[in-house]
Symmetry: C3
């Protein structure tokens, strides 16, 4: 093949819509010609004559004047200060409105129902007649696959695992036995649900495995990223509550509870028995130590390690600030003896106090 | 399906035992009625009338008085201060005793021996007659699978790889060619053993791949977590010694040696040619730089990056302490100029020395 | 099996060469007997009578006197100070010369062309006649597999995905639909190319998925490590330029561009819409925040989190220095109030300024 990297882009599955229909479906206010056919979505600065674009961040406002988009979704406030004849969809939350529009324009491509001839389905498994089981997938004994769910190529669904309705498993997802996947969950390739938690007792230096007999329960509308791992509970279950979204390469330890509508970004590591509150946001590569509890709505910054529970909402950070390497080296040397520096300052203060008592006015920390 | 998330929990495979038999099998001292049939294990506060529970941490002592458990495993010392008619198993290490009991109650479910009709086994491979090869698994030329070993659905075992006896590969494990997996190893789904190490020579800015011709050798009783990767050696082998336990999403670089009975928690990254001593414990998301050596028994705290060898046992930490974001911002600003602050303190000290030589008594760091 | 862990090492596929032929092929200057047959490569201190070894780091010079190697690749400068009758290959960049030699000695073993009978190839897919599709692999509709490319066991190649010539996919690679893999790319097991980026709009606390309709484009000669994930773009593509090398367990977010010949080490996390320049080196477990830009040739130290763009080349670090745990604890306490310490020093300075104005000579930072 001469030039794989410069091939024309493959066609995405699109469902075109009239602008007026789109406006109605997403609950936005239409200004302008509702008869335009929208055939796709694109950023303001790349959109073509049949694309819809959106403005949700003022820093992209500069593109409004020159955009070729058929129509723009934006807030009433932004619209008020933009004089144009272009069609517009007004929405208080333009990004959410765009999300709804894009989901209508780009629905998941339909997958033909049925069990692929190369798939292996145990005799006692129950697969809904309108579910789709892909090539080389295996469904264990007493497993259940709900209505319209799609099991991708090469997935392995363990014994007694229950998969709800309208679930999508991308290729090569593994779900161990006795787990539950709620309705409308989306699991990306390579994620592993229900592997054993990391539980061992130590006896004279050697490790004795603790059987991990709990399960994993994903409530409805959960999305799990590629190659993410969620361990089964030691005795009880590991639970991800409804609507929580977990990115790629995240580790969730045994017996964790991830609260409803929480979001956990890529490469985060959650140790065992952690309770993450509802609506929390955990940044990428953050790390949360075992048995901690994070209050509802707290935000943990990316790359921040957490070693004690968080009891008040707000944003928490703990990241060494980056610097050119030489400056970092100098500061790191001093950081290693910061306690000594503190004592030296304390000694200086005492000396000066002794000398000049009247000027001692700093606050004690 | 109406309510995938609230389905009754699926049945776990249990092997019930009389309490007296259990006590004898795990080497604990029975107090009370040995005829009770134990049908499961559960935490003190959830256990039912046929469950065994354990007390290994004094903070759960509060549950002793109200537990519904059939029997409790605890230390002789805790037992001495607990007046009860409930059956008890006394053990010096209650958690290890519990682990042994749980392994007896919850043995791995038996897997029927034989090669699944959808599996692909190379003509020259040797598979023990009592081994089990799951659906869609592939076993390469000259590979060996030992007695009673279970190869899960969709595993890929490369050419000339040797798998010992009583090994368990969960679904979708990949073992590249020419690796060795010792007896009783447990490998979880998605782990990749023997991919090429990250070795490239740079010539005028471009990378030339160094063929990775070593292998990976896991000694006996090693457990590898889901989606963990252990690279093959560049020339020699990457080795994990007996009894070491490695959690999920851990990266072990080429030519590492992980010492016997070491434990490495999730998301840790071990660069190439690192030697981790026996009995070491490496915390989750810790990171160890290339060519370092960690002495036997050292403990690296979670999220700690290590850039020089550790030569004395003990625990090592290097984590920025978390704070509410605004406080972090203020401190981070000062941290970037800590060396300057140090110099300012030094200058103050000199000034005061000059003024008041007698009071100069801080120790030089 | 008695001793899986002590089995003799399996045979590697080797292509022996005369030393003179090897010298010519890699562009090195031969000194000594060119007729020696080289049958392998090994480190200086382990090499046998038919192995070639190399010296690229002066610290291994000590092994020169005692090496049993048939021949040694080294720089003219090192050669000048080593009096020996042993055969030598002189090269300005001995490590690159070794890489070339090792690639000749250890070529990828040939894989028989053709589609394995257990593989599933869609009717509309185009597979080159000399490509090899392994057992249980699946190739989607309208996908293309180029000349001499090898698709490993159990790989899943999505609809309309284009794979160039001479590509190697190890077992269990997943490529989602509509991606492009350039010529000579190497993808290791478990890597996932083209899963959905982590894009959600928030509406009243709930997440609405943003369809990820872009793709992933890997240019030629890219290598992707085991279990690494590269997300598809939200609207445009995620791109990895030619010759870039990405290690294991790396996360590349949607719409990133990784510049040509960059190297990203294991466990690094790259958030969405990041632009990594050409020739950059990103250390293991480094983390780069969203929408940042890293200038060509910059080096980010291992475990360093980056939260603002890097505009000048050089090395950047941001790692808390490790210490024995108790010392760390003391310093961490002070770090939490570093801003206060700074103010106390400032107060001391002011007091002394007031007292002794003439000695105020520190520079303001």
């Amino acid at each position: 093949m001469k030039s794989a990297t410069v091939e024309t882009k493959a066609a995405v599955f699109v469902q075109p819509r009239k602008l007026a229909a789109l406006a109605e479906a997403i609950g936005a206010t239409l200004e302008g010609d509702g008869e335009i056919e929208i055939r796709g979505a694109a950023p303001l600065d790349c959109a073509g004559a049949h694309d819809i674009a959106f403005l949700s961040d003022a820093k992209y406002r500069v593109h409004l004047e020159t955009t070729q988009a058929a129509a723009v979704i934006l807030s009433p406030r932004e619209a008020a200060s933009w004089t144009t004849t272009k069609a517009r969809l007004l929405a208080v939350n333009p990004y959410a409105a765009y999300a709804k529009a894009a989901n209508l324009l780009y629905p998941e491509p339909p997958v033909p129902a049925g069990v692929h001839p190369t798939a292996t389905v145990a005799a006692s498994a129950q697969v809904a007649p309108d579910a789709a089981i892909g090539p080389h997938a295996s469904i264990g004994e007493y497993a259940v696959v709900g209505a319209r769910s799609v099991i991708g190529a090469g997935c392995a669904v363990g014994e007694q695992t229950i998969i709800g309705d309208d679930v999508r498993l991308a290729p090569r997802v593994v779900i161990y036995p006795r787990c539950v996947i709620g309705d409308r969950c989306v699991l990306h390739s390579g994620c592993v649900i229900g592997a054993d938690g990391f539980g061992f007792a130590n006896e004279n230096g050697r490790w004795i495995k603790i059987p991990q007999i709990g399960g994993v329960v994903l409530h409805s509308d959960v999305e799990i990223g590629a190659n993410t791992t969620i361990d089964r509970g030691a005795l009880g279950d590991t639970v991800v509550e409804e609507g929580a979204k977990i990115d790629n390469l995240v580790q969730i330890g045994h017996n964790c509870v991830v609260g409803a509508h929480a979001a956990i970004a890529g490469c985060a590591g959650i140790s065992g028995s952690v309770k993450i509150g509802k609506y929390c946001r955990i940044g990428g590569a953050a790390m949360i130590g075992g048995h901690l509890s994070i209050v509802d709505g707290a935000v943990v910054a990316a790359a921040t390690p957490i070693f004690s529970s968080i009891e008040s909402p707000g944003m928490y950070s703990g990241v060494y600030p980056v610097q050119p390497h030489r400056q970092w080296q100098k500061n790191a040397v001093q950081l290693r003896q910061l306690d000594t520096l503190y004592k030296r300052v304390r000694a200086l203060e005492k000396m000066l106090e002794a000398e000049t008592p009247a000027t001692n006015e700093h606050e004690e920390d």
